[in-house]
């Protein structure tokens, strides 16, 4: 069937337009590359920020999923109860995404479970880490006939996850749990398949208590797990553990508490078996020397009542280049969450652990030192 002249013309126009479009697309994509903005550029005012009255602002933040329920509750309470014009929008895209967006200055603040590494800070030199709350990872398991919480220690858990300790009734576990009837079955290991701060904290702890783990998989958000199967998110791990008899896994404390999962008492560096609670998590922070920039790992803390698998979660704020219209209400909000009784009550209601009182004064001083562009101090309250 011959093509008509009409069709020939449409075809020619199509090809010409495709080539032209491809050239334009190539030029556009090649020119405007994302990331790597100059350090002196002020952060972008995120979509439709309202700069008008003093206490009216729209802020956007992005980062870790672990504190997301808490932050979202705080921001809602802050807007409805304290500063009606301040709307804070938080996107739980993950710690990595939060750091990326903070570095690219596309958000007003970031959030991360793990502190930024030196390389990451080199790309974002104006960052101030602000610890907000403390979280903990608990070891959950599926064993029939065990009514009291299991007792485990770091080396044993590391060997289980390395695959060298294979059975539940292994002497290493039995000696920690005298009188408990452990089954003669293989341990089914479960881990987080998605990259997460939870895995980072857990592997950080394992690296500290087990040289074999440190030399092998090491500390990472997505380590190479020697044995076991992965579940996606806290929910995935919980599901797999619940459905697999004789399994072991790790989840966040607040998740375990809300879903009433059984979890183990861990032996800390002081030699005590500690039940993971808000108090024992806060105690972990009290026992470690916290540097000025708060970037520290508090796993395997030497304090007496400390739970060994605990960590801070951080807000990433601009030290001096934040726009005043955004930075000031944000710092006020941080001040509020640190001091307001209802905000701290929300922390315990959602099963997070508050900062130890020794740290609160230091964080207050940090908040007062934050500046916004133009050189003004960002914090209006306190002092």
């Amino acid at each position: 069937m011959a093509t008509t002249s009409f069709e020939r013309r449409v075809g020619a126009a199509f090809v010409a337009a495709t080539l032209a479009g491809a050239v334009l697309l190539g030029a556009a994509c090649g020119g405007g590359d994302s990331g790597g903005s100059s350090a002196t550029k002020a952060p972008a005012s995120n979509g439709g920020a309202a700069v008008g009255k003093d206490d009216s602002a729209q802020l956007t933040g992005a980062g870790a999923t672990f504190p997301a329920p808490l932050y979202q509750a705080w921001f809602e309470d802050y807007q409805s109860g304290v500063a009606k014009g301040v709307k804070i929008n938080y996107q739980p895209v993950g710690s990595g995404g939060g750091i990326q967006q903070f570095t690219a200055k596309t958000v007003d603040f970031g959030a991360s479970d793990a502190p930024m590494s030196d390389t990451e800070m080199a790309a974002a030199p104006d960052v101030q880490h602000i610890p907000t709350v403390i979280g903990a990872d608990v070891i959950t398991y599926n064993l029939s006939g065990i009514s009291n919480p299991l007792k485990l220690d770091g080396a044993t858990v590391a060997n289980i996850y390395l695959g060298t300790l294979k059975k539940w009734n292994d002497p290493a576990i039995a000696v920690l749990n005298p009188g408990v009837n452990l089954p003669d079955k293989d341990i089914q290991v479960v881990y987080r398949s998605d990259s997460s701060g939870t895995s980072f904290v857990f592997t950080d702890f394992l690296s500290k208590v087990s040289p074999a783990w440190k030399a092998g998989p090491g500390t990472s958000k997505a380590p190479k797990w020697p044995v076991g199967q992965g579940g996606q998110g806290n929910a995935g791990v919980t599901n797999v553990v619940k459905q697999t008899p004789n399994s072991i896994g790790y989840v966040e404390l607040n998740w375990a508490k809300e879903n009433k999962l059984p979890f183990a008492d861990m032996k800390n560096r002081a030699g005590k078996f500690v039940t993971p609670t808000a108090d024992s998590s806060s105690a972990a922070a009290a026992g470690v020397a916290i540097p000025d920039d708060y970037r520290v790992s508090i796993t395997d803390s030497p304090a007496d009542g400390a739970y060994p698998i605990a960590s801070f979660t951080y807000i990433l704020a601009y030290k001096s280049i934040g726009k005043c219209s955004q930075q000031t209400p944000f710092v006020d909000m941080l001040w509020w969450e640190l001091h307001d009784k209802s905000a701290q009550q929300t922390v315990t209601d959602l099963f997070y652990a508050p900062l130890p009182s020794s740290l609160v004064a230091r964080v207050e001083a940090t908040l007062k030192s934050l500046k916004c562009d133009g050189g003004a101090t960002a914090s209006l309250k306190g002092g």
């Binding site: 069937m1 990595g96 992965g230 459905q243």
Partner: protein
Amino acid sequence: MTAQTIPRSEKPARSLQNRLKPGDWLFAAVTTAAGLVVVLVIAGMFYELTNEGWDSITTNGASFAWGTGWDPSHQVFGVGAFIVGTFVTSVFALVFATVVAVLVALFLVEIAPGWLARPISYVVELLAAIPSVVYGLWGVFVMGVFIRDQLGPLIVATLGWIPFFNGAPLTTGLLSACLILTVMILPTVMAVSRDVIGAVPRSQREGILALGATRWEMIRIAVLPYARSGILGAAILGLARAVGETLAVTLVIGNSVQIPDNVFAPAYTMASVIANQFPEATALHRSALIEVALILLAITFVINVAARLLVWRVTGGQRAVVQE
């Protein structure tokens, strides 16, 4: 002798012919633009993936394609284990889904009466409408338990002498992923097979029946050979879907970077590793994941093109050509 033509100046100014011309060109322009957008989107995808994955392509080189180590914390990247996982689960699903789908299609076209064929056809196509995440949850809560408690022990009992089938049945693992993919691509393969088998001309069927063939002989001799390339195309379409299936597989495959040594062991697919690790990935890790995505896109593209060509050979339709 010259044909009578109306000189342009004498043509009526507001004839029907003249009024339609702007509309025609507008229509042509709009549809051309729409087609253009589609082509540019696909080209744009390839370009962006290559661009963002360039770090990984240059750093990891060719060994990325067959290396089986994947350790982001030590900057070791290799897509081999994921390709094996994707390949094994997809081919398993392809084989089993095609067998079942062709049988169902033959039933619907050759054997079932019209009042029965239509509802069954509708129900099978409904399987394609179920969201992927629902399949994943069904796989975790229903099928996984079935494998762990019934199907798994049965397989170990009957086929356990083969090392590959001897393992501890869990709710997640290679077998779970294979079965869930089979169920998910079944409606696609069935629908296309049914159309392909229906497109076999009546003359073929009547001819062989006139020679004294039974119904099964008719199907075997007249229908299936004629529809063979079309069924193959349908199967490959199903394969394309299976290769890219992300959420349902991620929930049931166990997510372990290894080449599974038995059918119940956890494994990993290309789509799953991207879904699991991309949100937190930075630098080279992110670039490596994008390179995985590029490989996945290329594979899916090739499979789809091959499938479409095969299907069109038989059905003759679906082409953007007005039939004469």
